[in-house]
Symmetry: C2
Subunit: 259 residues, 2 copies
């Protein structure tokens, strides 16, 4: 009798500081590779772990979603415990779930939520340095907020896309971009159907220039229309970025390819 | 005219993850060395930076206090800004203050406050791994609390002292040891006139054994009386420890040498 293959969905939390990003790299250690190695130790099977999207080197995740298939008949709870007992302290499995064979962590994703954190204070802090970008100059949050309406909705985000990208379409829909000041931090909450490579970080880098008064909120319109990366601001540092949530629904309609 | 020497007090915050502790080391980079180098870049003078006490490799500080003397006539605010602009992101100066020549960051210290953090939850967290010790087994906080009265007050803490120590006296006074559960964490708040090398970490390591039911709260009495390191529990991991505050008063009476 052929053993039954099961599809397993993992919700993963990681501190990306020490990794070369999510995806397998020849010249560095990736989150994907570490988790695949641990799955191998538990199941004795080589697995192909498919993430909902890549995160770049230094970027963190509160809830990255990934799937793999296995012959293992281990229970969800036993899987969770076994994986966590073998993973390094900066990667943790938050949830293990047996899912339908139709589920695809990348293609079934409907929405993705990212958060970008800026420490915006006269003095730096020795903590949080791995989880925020430090900007001493007091940013004008209200000006940054006025730039947001131009970005919301369905646009060709080519101007906010990093180089070396290989996607079918550069059109993405941005559902939400909330900016809030919280103590010494400024938080940017992004929600969209998908994000191009570096898209969140380039938008933040451009908004920071608005916050510094170097650009006007309305400049966003022309930057988007230009479809020219050079018109946008710099790419914000990776350590301020965190993948917060990947939202799925049962209807099988997918989001767009992710950065 | 001889230039006026001024004594400068620094309040320093650091993430000790990447350092070989506070004190200058031949074979590794210390917080002291990094700050001295930055002071040199600002003042063009070699300084001897005296800390309130050593912190070990991997141990953090919210407010370590240190002093040095300088001919520089730079204002406190200018010093603060200059030092922070040159320090790496994991070390920050919180305060610069010109103090009396009598002030000594180590000898004038009256009390020291440390916090130890344990992540005590069924599942690990990928964040906080550099700032807590993870213990999966649910610890009995009430049992640990019952051990505390034996430790409070003035004792010879030899049993809770790491090896290779060279202090005049092993008697220390512990004013406060509060243990509290806060969400998934257990926090230990220590306040004393000084702490021997590894003292906080060995006390925590021993209390953890009480929390696991391997020792009784009343065992503390015999451990203290033994003055034998082997009778106490293991040394808890460094990354859970943080120097929270050094308290000074004007009367010039000092605390004890610190770990």
């Amino acid at each position: 009798m052929k053993p039954v293959m099961r599809k397993i969905k993992l919700v993963l939390q990681y501190d990306g500081s020490k990794y070369h990003g999510w995806q397998y790299q020849i010249n560095g250690i990736s989150i994907q590779e570490v988790v695949e190695k641990v799955i191998f130790r538990v199941t004795k099977e080589k697995s192909n772990l498919v993430g909902s999207g890549r995160t770049d080197a230094g970027v963190h995740a509160e809830a990255q979603v990934a799937h793999f298939v296995t012959r293992s008949r281990m229970s969800e709870a036993a899987f969770l415990r076994a994986l966590n007992s073998l993973l390094p302290r900066d990667i943790a499995v938050k949830k293990v779930e047996v899912v339908s064979p139709d589920f695809d962590s990348r293609r079934s994703a409907k929405r993705k939520i990212y958060r970008y954190t800026i420490l915006n204070h006269e003095h730096p802090s020795a903590f949080d340095y791995g989880h925020s970008m430090y900007i001493q100059f007091p940013l004008n949050v209200e000006a940054m907020k006025r730039a947001v309406p131009h970005l919301l909705g369905r646009h060709d985000f080519t101007a906010f896309q990093g180089a070396k990208s290989d996607v079918k379409t550069t059109v993405r829909e941005l559902f939400r971009l909330d900016i809030e000041r919280k103590e010494n931090f400024i938080l940017f909450h992004f929600e969209g159907n998908g994000f191009l490579k570096y898209m969140v970080r380039i938008i933040v880098g451009t908004l920071v220039e608005v916050g510094k008064g170097r650009r006007q909120p309305d400049d966003m319109k022309a930057i988007l229309a230009s479809r020219n990366r050079k018109k946008a601001g710099p790419t914000a540092q990776p350590q301020g970025l965190c993948m917060v949530e990947v939202v799925y629904s049962g209807d099988g309609v997918g989001g767009e390819d992710d950065e």
